[in-house]
Amino acid sequence: MISLKYMSFYSIIISNLKYLIPLLASLFFSIITIMPIMPIGYESIAPLLGVVSMAFWIMHRPDIMSWFFVIIIGFYCDILYGTILGSGVLSSIIIRFVITKVLYKLEPINIYHTLFYLSTSLFIWLFVSVSINSIINLEAYNFFNTFFQGLISIIISPIVIFSQLYLLKKISI
């Protein structure tokens, strides 16, 4: 009887582990962002894969990618990238708010909708991060690099989208 009880307890944990996949995937892609993924000389415009991943899960499963998870991702990104603590958190909260409350429609989304939502998310992230970092540090920033970082992120985003569609399919089964 006891072993059955434990079995059901562990099976509950294991069956719920899949709901951590969006968080873990986004954190993994956030780490990949600071890895040597770009050719030498082009590092400052590396794609923001963590943001793309987070926006993807907010679009498809906002119930799993909760406010709490979004805060964790923003917080971890701030620490990894060495930016002002809170700027990433605010950016990710605004992204979730905009996607779920403003942009979301109940019609099925296709690849164009996905790219539009992603572009908006990347724009929000870069705008908020750069604004907060430049206001607090009172420095002029290189906006060309920021613009191209956003652009490269959009171009690379299909790789993240398709790899995560596989995970989404696994979760949805």
């Binding site: 962002t33 890895m35 040597p36 406010w67 990238y81 296709n110 430049s134 920033y141 290189n142």
Partner: protein, 292 residues
């Protein structure tokens, strides 16, 4: 794509919309603002949190960094192999120039040694250092920093200068037990008191989150020429003197910029100098405002 998750997606949207989470939304925003404000008011607490979290994740970051870096390096090496003939030609010409310069250097070094002996000048300080491995890249447009695999356990202290081959690379900003963060000289936060030795011209060099550095507070532009070498002046006790910063270049619009001696992203290891008062040769009571 539409077929895969449409049902679940619609379900989750309905769940999201029907759940009354206005309070959560407000709380999330309030939390973010408090976090930003706390960064301004209590920067030390934030540094501690950052250092701790980086410490815990440094193992994962390092294990991912090594294989990805190997792949990246292989691609760069392949490019170099293809261009080996042209590179060899270019390097031979440069080598001839350096051979001539080396002869002059030997004579100058000898003269300098004799002058020092005659004047009875005290010996230069030789700074102790720790070699640290870089485990991340500076990949963002709005900040320039990397994570190092050395921390308090290796006697690394905050604000220590970081060098590579006698060239200034940056300084330490956050220190954990096993990891630390290196802020590059190209970051917009960094200001370096510098000197153009040939002209005895003191300048302030500033990063701007770009590949090149900017010159601040310059009055007489006519003195500076392309190719001039910029070194640290040692003013302000932030960096040691005579570290190479970069070479003066002219932009298309005529503005002067400085090309850093090394690109941080091309390095795998750096040297962290021991910047304690004792190691700097200061053993008297000092005002911490000026020396720490």
């Amino acid at each position: 794509m539409t077929r895969i998750s449409n049902f679940k997606r619609v379900q989750s949207i309905i769940r999201e919309r029907t759940s009354n989470n206005k309070l959560l939304t407000i709380l999330s925003f309030v939390f973010a603002f408090i976090l930003i404000l706390s960064t301004i008011v209590f920067p030390n607490i934030n540094y501690t949190i950052k250092a701790k979290v980086v410490d815990y994740s440094s193992g994962i970051i390092n294990s991912l960094y090594s294989p990805i870096n190997t792949i990246n390096r292989s691609a760069t090496n392949l490019y170099n192999i293809i261009n080996v003939h042209n590179l060899n030609k270019k390097l031979r010409l440069e080598n001839q120039k350096y051979e001539l310069l080396n002869n002059e250097l030997i004579i100058l070094r000898n003269k300098n040694k004799k002058y020092k002996e005659l004047l009875n000048i005290s010996k230069d300080i030789e700074y102790k250092f720790v070699t640290a491995k870089i485990i991340s890249k500076s990949n963002l447009a709005y900040t320039k920093s990397v994570i190092l695999m050395s921390g308090k356990n290796d006697n690394i202290k905050n604000r220590s200068p970081v060098i590579y081959d006698n060239s200034l690379i940056g300084y330490i900003n956050d220190v954990g037990n096993t990891s630390s963060r290196l802020i590059s000289i190209t970051d917009a936060l960094v200001k370096i008191p510098a000197i153009i030795v040939d002209k005895n011209l003191k300048i302030i060099v500033s990063g701007n989150n770009n590949k090149y550095l900017e010159i601040l507070n310059i009055n007489d532009l006519t003195l500076i020429k392309e190719g001039d070498k910029v070194f640290t002046s040692g003013d302000g006790n932030k960096f040691p003197e005579n570290l190479f910063v970069g070479t003066i270049r002219i932009k298309k619009n005529g503005d002067f910029i400085i090309e850093p001696s090394f690109d941080l992203n091309s390095l795998n290891y750096v040297k962290i100098l021991d910047w304690s008062l004792k190691n700097r040769g200061i053993d008297i009571k000092t005002d911490p405002i000026f020396y720490d």
